[in-house]
Subunit: 386 residues, 2 copies
């Protein structure tokens, strides 16, 4: 028997190219989350941090630095890494510790600072998140790997480059309403199709940007949440999964096993089915990823998502709004922060802070975030608490 776990506060920096240090942006998001929760730093009993390339801004072992700067130097912390899925995998650990009763209230902070290294060095560093012996080290960077996945999907399910473009157009449309999004620019199908090719069939507008950014949430047990006078959100499902590390090790590359497994665990724990989800934040590092995600999460039958996206099913007023925040594609992808930022979006949606991008009458939401080509993934389900 575990404790109910709640999110009582959330904060984020703007995502994009940021000039501040990795510690400065981490502190900005943490303080935002603490203020949003109406608590003081002294209420925090542990810090869970997600980050991948702190080394590129000359700071690893970040927890003591963050805690010391928050004025709580004797509160223990640690950093969790699982590539681009670090934020959700870390959130899962923070969740598990509160659920198990080890802590009443913790800070879960994701942060990344990468843009200052430049595009070539960023791409190189990111390739270390692949199975480097088989993939990165053989020249297969992530755009190339996802291009292979896209080719396989398009051939198997008769999808087109234009179908993929619809994902980008929809997410940019949503990102226009998110003041903290990295790429706030309305685009057309034609813009996507005519944009420079990165790794065919993926063009620049099929790819998420390299972003800096930090997001933080405050997690606590139900008793702690009820003492607070603020509105909060309950975590009702949590799951994580794994896939063969290298894409070449998988039988079918149009599905990601880690997503399927994590989602099944989360649905089972929450006692719901995909039909009960009112909106979802999913891992759209490339447009093809979002198509595959929303099939693997059970929102659409395998092979039908590209058509559904084209018909508008995933827009804010569609049957299952996907990435109202703008997703990785428009909101941005500071890899250590992304999974936490998704939870922050759910918190804002459910507590009246999402402004114009609010999904009306939503009560249950899902977050999905993976590492590399889905070698690791975590899925969480949240319920609005009135």
């Amino acid at each position: 028997m575990t404790n109910k776990v709640c999110v009582i506060g959330a904060g984020s920096t703007r995502y994009g190219r940021l000039d501040e240090s990795i510690i400065e942006i981490a502190l900005d998001a943490s303080k935002d989350a603490i203020n949003s929760a109406g608590i003081t730093p002294d209420d925090i009993q542990a810090g869970y941090i997600s980050n991948v390339f702190g080394v590129s801004d000359k700071q690893v072992h970040m927890a003591p630095v963050i805690m010391s700067n928050l004025g709580i130097p004797y509160v223990p912390g640690l950093t969790i890494e699982s590539a681009c899925g670090s934020g959700s995998i870390m959130f899962r650990e923070a969740y598990a510790n509160v659920a198990a009763g080890f802590y009443d209230c913790v800070l879960a902070l994701g942060v990344e600072k990468i843009t200052h290294t430049g595009t070539i060095q960023s791409t190189t560093l990111f390739s270390y998140c692949s199975d480097f012996f088989y993939e990165g080290g053989s020249g297969a960077s992530f755009p190339g790997l996802f291009a292979s996945i896209a080719r396989s999907y398009m051939a198997t399910h008769k999808a087109s480059e234009e179908d993929l473009a619809h994902v980008a157009v929809k997410n940019h449309e949503n990102g226009m309403l998110n003041p903290k999004a990295h790429v706030r620019k309305e685009i057309t199908i034609d813009d996507v199709l005519k944009s420079p090719v990165v790794a065919s069939p993926l063009k620049i507008y099929d790819c998420c940007p390299f972003s800096d950014g930090a997001s933080a949430v405050i997690l606590c047990n139900e008793a702690f949440a009820k003492k607070s006078s603020r509105q909060y959100v309950e975590v009702i499902g949590s799951g994580r999964g794994a896939s063969p590390a290298a894409v070449q090790g998988r039988n079918d590359i149009t599905t990601i096993p880690s997503t399927v497994n994590a989602a099944n665990q989360a649905y089972k724990m929450a006692g719901i089915t995909p039909k009960d989800i009112d909106f979802a934040e999913v891992h759209d590092c490339f447009t093809i990823a979002e198509i595959i995600d929303i099939e693997d999460l059970g929102f659409f039958q395998k092979g039908t998502a590209a058509h559904a996206v084209r018909e508008g099913a995933t827009r804010r007023n569609g049957e299952i709004p996907i990435n109202p925040s703008g997703g990785l594609k428009s909101k941005g992808h500071p890899i250590g922060a992304t999974g936490v930022g998704q939870v922050a979006e759910v918190f804002e949606q459910f507590t009246g802070k999402a402004g114009e991008r609010t999904i009306k009458n939503a009560e249950i939401a899902l977050t999905h975030n993976f590492g590399a080509t889905g070698a690791s993934a975590a899925v969480h389900v949240f319920k609005k608490v009135e």
Copy 2:
């Protein structure tokens, strides 16, 4: 109410300058641990990995690669980092997940590959584990920081450079009996005192080496351990703590608050006092660290440890043997692996695998491992199970 947690297997590579890749050494240690436990990879439900600078061997997001190579690609994992304390902080998370009942059996693996980057780059990378804004970025690398700590201790407690040298001589003596130790070389007090100065009063023999290496242990609940026909060890105490990140933020630099807090938690949980500990593996990154550790852990009154070490109290036949493995000083310090290697030593000691370095009649042992200058730390207490 949590489950009892047991260690049922352990494995390690040799520590030192290794030619294999980070993944190869991680797999070697993991397979050793699996064999030692008498289980198969299929028994493992999750992988907990500790590592700091995977980026320097071009592989982060290591869990999927390790799990895939072990033939269990659908088993989830993650990496935990807390500088030189990564191994014990990760062990604590693995412990907590088994204690809470989330998993029956997990792999806890620590690994580091750093020597190929050279001494200057290694020192630079390690400095990112300090509070870089105040310390590393201002030129204070770890030998310098521990030299300040040593000066303060020597002035406050009338200790001498010769006292510190006794720690090195004792740990090298122990390491001679450890076939996997990095620096297997008997040294004298004179050797230490006449060795080149690194940061006065610390000389080269006061400093642990940069090491590559991997260590792994198998953790499980009591029911799982009892089903195995092998001898196992029970985790009876677990604690972790934090200190102000930068040394300059501490009132007294002759004590490390994270150690004191972590130890108090672990003793309380185990229902014991420091007098009940039969031997300990402690974090002797520099000789002065061991002196301070064994006071902070309660084995000696503050200010008396240097004298006790000189009198032989911490030798294998002394009142409280410290670092029978050789410690970081002689066994070596592959930073992500060190904390796990300490647990592996306890397992070997308690299951008749420590050969000549076995501490006779020992039944309760302690491991202590910290990050940076003790900004983070974890302490665990183990009991031999007959």
